[in-house]
Symmetry: D4
Amino acid sequence: MEFKKDQKLLFIGDSITDCDRAKPEGEGLFGALGNGYVSFVNAFLTSTYSELGIRVVNKGISGNKVRDLKERWQEDVIDQQPDWLSIMIGINDVWRQYDVPFIKDKHVYIDEYEETLRNLVEKTKPMVEGLVLMTPYYLESNKEDRMRQTMDQYGSVVKKIAEETDCIFIDTQAVFHNVLEKIYPAALAWDRVHPNDAGHLLLARAFLNKVGFDWNKE
Amino acid sequence: MEFKKDQKLLFIGDSITDCDRAKPEGEGLFGALGNGYVSFVNAFLTSTYSELGIRVVNKGISGNKVRDLKERWQEDVIDQQPDWLSIMIGINDVWRQYDVPFIKDKHVYIDEYEETLRNLVEKTKPMVEGLVLMTPYYLESNKEDRMRQTMDQYGSVVKKIAEETDCIFIDTQAVFHNVLEKIYPAALAWDRVHPNDAGHLLLARAFLNKVGFDWNKE
Amino acid sequence: MEFKKDQKLLFIGDSITDCDRAKPEGEGLFGALGNGYVSFVNAFLTSTYSELGIRVVNKGISGNKVRDLKERWQEDVIDQQPDWLSIMIGINDVWRQYDVPFIKDKHVYIDEYEETLRNLVEKTKPMVEGLVLMTPYYLESNKEDRMRQTMDQYGSVVKKIAEETDCIFIDTQAVFHNVLEKIYPAALAWDRVHPNDAGHLLLARAFLNKVGFDWNKE
Amino acid sequence: MEFKKDQKLLFIGDSITDCDRAKPEGEGLFGALGNGYVSFVNAFLTSTYSELGIRVVNKGISGNKVRDLKERWQEDVIDQQPDWLSIMIGINDVWRQYDVPFIKDKHVYIDEYEETLRNLVEKTKPMVEGLVLMTPYYLESNKEDRMRQTMDQYGSVVKKIAEETDCIFIDTQAVFHNVLEKIYPAALAWDRVHPNDAGHLLLARAFLNKVGFDWNKE
Amino acid sequence: MEFKKDQKLLFIGDSITDCDRAKPEGEGLFGALGNGYVSFVNAFLTSTYSELGIRVVNKGISGNKVRDLKERWQEDVIDQQPDWLSIMIGINDVWRQYDVPFIKDKHVYIDEYEETLRNLVEKTKPMVEGLVLMTPYYLESNKEDRMRQTMDQYGSVVKKIAEETDCIFIDTQAVFHNVLEKIYPAALAWDRVHPNDAGHLLLARAFLNKVGFDWNKE
Amino acid sequence: MEFKKDQKLLFIGDSITDCDRAKPEGEGLFGALGNGYVSFVNAFLTSTYSELGIRVVNKGISGNKVRDLKERWQEDVIDQQPDWLSIMIGINDVWRQYDVPFIKDKHVYIDEYEETLRNLVEKTKPMVEGLVLMTPYYLESNKEDRMRQTMDQYGSVVKKIAEETDCIFIDTQAVFHNVLEKIYPAALAWDRVHPNDAGHLLLARAFLNKVGFDWNKE
Amino acid sequence: MEFKKDQKLLFIGDSITDCDRAKPEGEGLFGALGNGYVSFVNAFLTSTYSELGIRVVNKGISGNKVRDLKERWQEDVIDQQPDWLSIMIGINDVWRQYDVPFIKDKHVYIDEYEETLRNLVEKTKPMVEGLVLMTPYYLESNKEDRMRQTMDQYGSVVKKIAEETDCIFIDTQAVFHNVLEKIYPAALAWDRVHPNDAGHLLLARAFLNKVGFDWNKE
Amino acid sequence: MEFKKDQKLLFIGDSITDCDRAKPEGEGLFGALGNGYVSFVNAFLTSTYSELGIRVVNKGISGNKVRDLKERWQEDVIDQQPDWLSIMIGINDVWRQYDVPFIKDKHVYIDEYEETLRNLVEKTKPMVEGLVLMTPYYLESNKEDRMRQTMDQYGSVVKKIAEETDCIFIDTQAVFHNVLEKIYPAALAWDRVHPNDAGHLLLARAFLNKVGFDWNKE
């Protein structure tokens, strides 16, 4: 297990991370962590590694693009002084190019995406003990699909940054792709983006596997 | 123009037809026709052919499959004594096979679909002056997509029945496919099924073109 | 078709334009353009001329008079840098003279109306590629009706300004008058002002006809 | 004053009478009489003739036509055993011919109207001490207006029945016409049918004048 | 009739005046004048003296005491430039002494009441054409009741000020006392303060009688 | 203390008893006993005599008159098989005579009141171990007040029945009269009927004093 | 893995099972399985064993005791024809003895509990392929606590029945007890009964472990 | 009775004090004192000692810890100039250590608690006539329970401060412990903290006993 006693683990991202979390705190009682993968990660850590006392904080905000993270980075990440940071961003950067194709100032193209994300990672890496980079994803199994293609390119950027900056890398698209070969996207998400519990548990397990969670520990 | 003075035109179908219409009437003041293609068809007829006094009735119900139409056919179609009838059904018959794949009694497979629809059409055709059959559709441009493939098969069934029973046939999938070559599905529908105004106007225009609407008439 | 690739088309006006659009943006997903003629214009453009990528923005605000447009012109029109601008204003300028006759400071009489509108048009014309002026209207077929008479005078002012400044002119009152000879106003609008889908589609078609929309294009 | 001690005065009609009265009772505390002319009649009687103890009951139902009154006449009129009865019906009988012109089974044409109303009056007259017939009205001052013309014909029917059956007759259209020469309809009613307090007080005063209310009594 | 063409008549007071009026305007469409005596005064003036075009404004605020009127006098009275002003205040000044007897800083005792009210009246009288002073009241017929006694003392102050400053004086307590001899307070007001329509019409008629309203005018 | 281990104590009455209790049970968790004197009686018993395990049930229904109790007596009293029964009824029997004076069939006059109440008491007395009769009351200190006079007469009836049938008698009017000499009714109840916590605690203490509650017991 | 292709797995129980599931279906889209352990079991099965197509149905109802299960057993279990059945009941049977101690008919004592549960199990066992019995639990680590003691006795009954009828047995109390040694109950459940995500995931994992779920399968 | 005529008694604390009181005033009509022990203290004082005219003010705020009281002390206590002050704080200071054990900056440990509370008491004592200190409590009868142990330590701190500063001391934990020997915590509070009416009446009686309330006074 990567995490040490009393460490703070902060998640930042878009609606997949947000999931109706308490704002602005992002932690506390009564579903303050939302109802997505962040809450599930916390639930597994609390029940199985309660002796470590890992403090999980959720700073996801629905609709965010990497451009939005940049604006609130100081307040929502740096000022929080996390020991561990996990970033999953990019879905909206891509999606807006396809659902509001004519409103171009809502699009974040790949160059801006890469530069902004790298900048945030490089600046924050030295301040934390560990940094996890999760790719954006699209619940579409057809790799020739236009939006899936773009999403894969953004995912490649995340991978490249993770390798160059020595972050833990999670290929969420690969996690889902594996499942989509067996069940159709509509069974996981109404809009091919916002998954049900099954999808969020997949994300949580992928995260936990990467940080050394032991499924046999009681 | 196919319609004659004082005729009643009844639409039946699923949520695409329903669109929050007034229940149970399906006609009247204040958005009683819902906010989809049925209301648009009525709006074009009212403003351009008001001298005909065509009475439009909407009997769509969200979530319906052909099996549901069969159960309410007497009350919602026969008893209404329409002069013209338009049917668009099948999306949910297919969709449930993909979004709740394990709940098999919610699936209507193609044999039941064909038999039920043909039965309803054959029984009703002699009672009306004209009958329009609109295919179900899926806002996915990849013809290899599993759900799109199934939807195309159901569309073929509709076409076959229309030809055999001499109904007016509208290939809504073809209408959308044409547009999807230019814009991505997400710009037309959040879930690849329920379209925005652009999609509903496409359906309305396709319908009106088939019944002889003259776009130059004032 | 007047519009060129990637142009921005902005509509400004009162409740007929507003129709519950998203505020303050006036564009985006999920009915952001409201449910009136602006959304319909956008829907026709998106489905038929999607290759042009016309960006439609709705800046209508319910209850506005020309005096209100003047106050928010910089922010809602100039700062938006539209390529095309469409203005429909004047209904409330007239209506308040009849529904709150004793509250005179809510009335905008014809001299102020003309001066203000001309001023806005003259100042903005050079900044845009095209400017459309739509008259206000009243869904009353009796030309001797007091309020209809006043509305017609305001409509004449719009026509005069359009001619003098070389704008595209749309006589919405004439569009409706034509229909009101066949159906009674109560079938189009509960209050003789806010039309149903039929009325809004009439406005949208009148607009599209003036900007060269080809109804036979697929 | 026509009314005698402890008598019950019952009003029946459509939305003009209803005005959000308590259902089904139509009497009691806390605005049970609605907020229209019935409540005002009661308020004048209670404050000025409280020694008479007149019990006012409101049985108006929004949207009712004479056809609807007929169906609920036994329960809502006969069973109530009123000493005085006031009827105002017909607005919807006419209005539906103009706002939903193509839905003909919602229209009550003048023959059915006359026969039904006369039947109800003749049958009930012997059971009550007095019966008041109020005409339907339309807040349109142009007598050539199509709907106004129709409404005037229905009003004439009411007058004829009142004369033949010796009922108290109130020409509400005349009451309003007088005022509409001075102010425009929009200042009295948003939709030319449902008046504001000014219109309802006109109806209440017209009623009270006909039953001998003394405005100088304290 | 005291009022002249195009004059503005402003009412100020507490909840009896307020009655859910539109805030902050206090005038306009759709019940902007609330549902109490102010709306009734306006309704009688609009329907009977519409040729005068009297503009009625309601600036009542629930819970106000004379101390509150003083604070908003500049904005809500002086800045409004009324031609006629009507003041009814004092009920809460007295009531709080009886319903929250221990919270003394919510009480306005008679000396402060008299001084504040006289000050407002003397300062405003020269700016208006006429000023109406209505007493506060309590719907209790027992003159020995403690709260009624206090209310009567406040009413006497109003009378004294009216006489000294030559204002029109309305003894609302006397108006109600007359009726309370015939019916019990509970039939007029749930809490002996906020009357039903009957009570508000009594206030409106008392007001109109004092300003020369002709009940026989049509 | 009158109550013995495991006994059931049932309260029946009008809104004073009801106080928003859970319906239909009238017992259970989460405020099921309402927020009035019944809940307070239960709270004192639970905290001070928990070893007795007294089960308190609330069967009050707002607006009830003795006539209503009669109709539901079998179901809400007899079938419940209480060991102790407490009845407080009569406020609405009297109040309706004063707040809706003209709707005489809502009045329960004193003869019907006495006969009905005596009948219920005589029939039930043999089935219970003890029966408490609480008078109705009116928060008016003026004994000459018309409604207070009537209420006192109904209270006398309760006293007479209690004496004749050997029930425990509680003169709630006397309890309140004592307090009203010191504070005005408006400080206890907005409408002189529904008291605040102070009033309900007075009722609860009066009840507990009569059944032998020891205030010094811990 | 115990489950075979296309089998139906039905859960029945109280609020821990219910968790706001869709009623009455207990399966379908959009959170139909609620947000507790049932949904988590389904999510793990769907994502990891989607090739099996296990259909999960949730028939939990908040507040249920074993007595309630008995009443709806035919409809909610037998008629559903599950292949696998999981029962968790007893918390409310015990809890009511402690939170409403005086309302004894809401208590289900241990004899009735054992007899009823055994009866249901014995009758249903032959109809299913497998039956899982989960004990009730109480999130209290003090084994001397009165309610914990009672709950442990009910848990022993479940164990005994499971052994005698050869059902799969899950000791949920033991699962929680293990965790409660490390964290205080308040961190898992507000009321020591209804757990947060951490608690529900513990239940889900305990269940999955018993039916052969392979945590290393992808 | 400790309190003298016209004195102001202010309560400050957390949710137990707050109980949905009116904010920000904390006094007035219509449940402004909330529905807990503060309202009950006021009710007993109002009904039994109304001649004293004690003014009760509630400044409790849900979730507050002693750290929060310190921040609002000037505004909510000093500026209010109470004659008597009652403080009950500490439950959340302790609870957060157990329900969000990993969020340490939400914990107020015992040293900060003691120092802050002593500071507030010492500073305020000279300004008031009397100061009441109520301990925090936990509705758990097992003195070995971890959270109960901590709560008892905080209670000891309150006792020590009360003795050293000569305040009236109320051991609420002892009050409840006494009752918990007879009934289980779940019958008093859903979460072992927020009591029902029985619990709040226990607190109110404990308070009143300490300030000399005479239960036999009428």
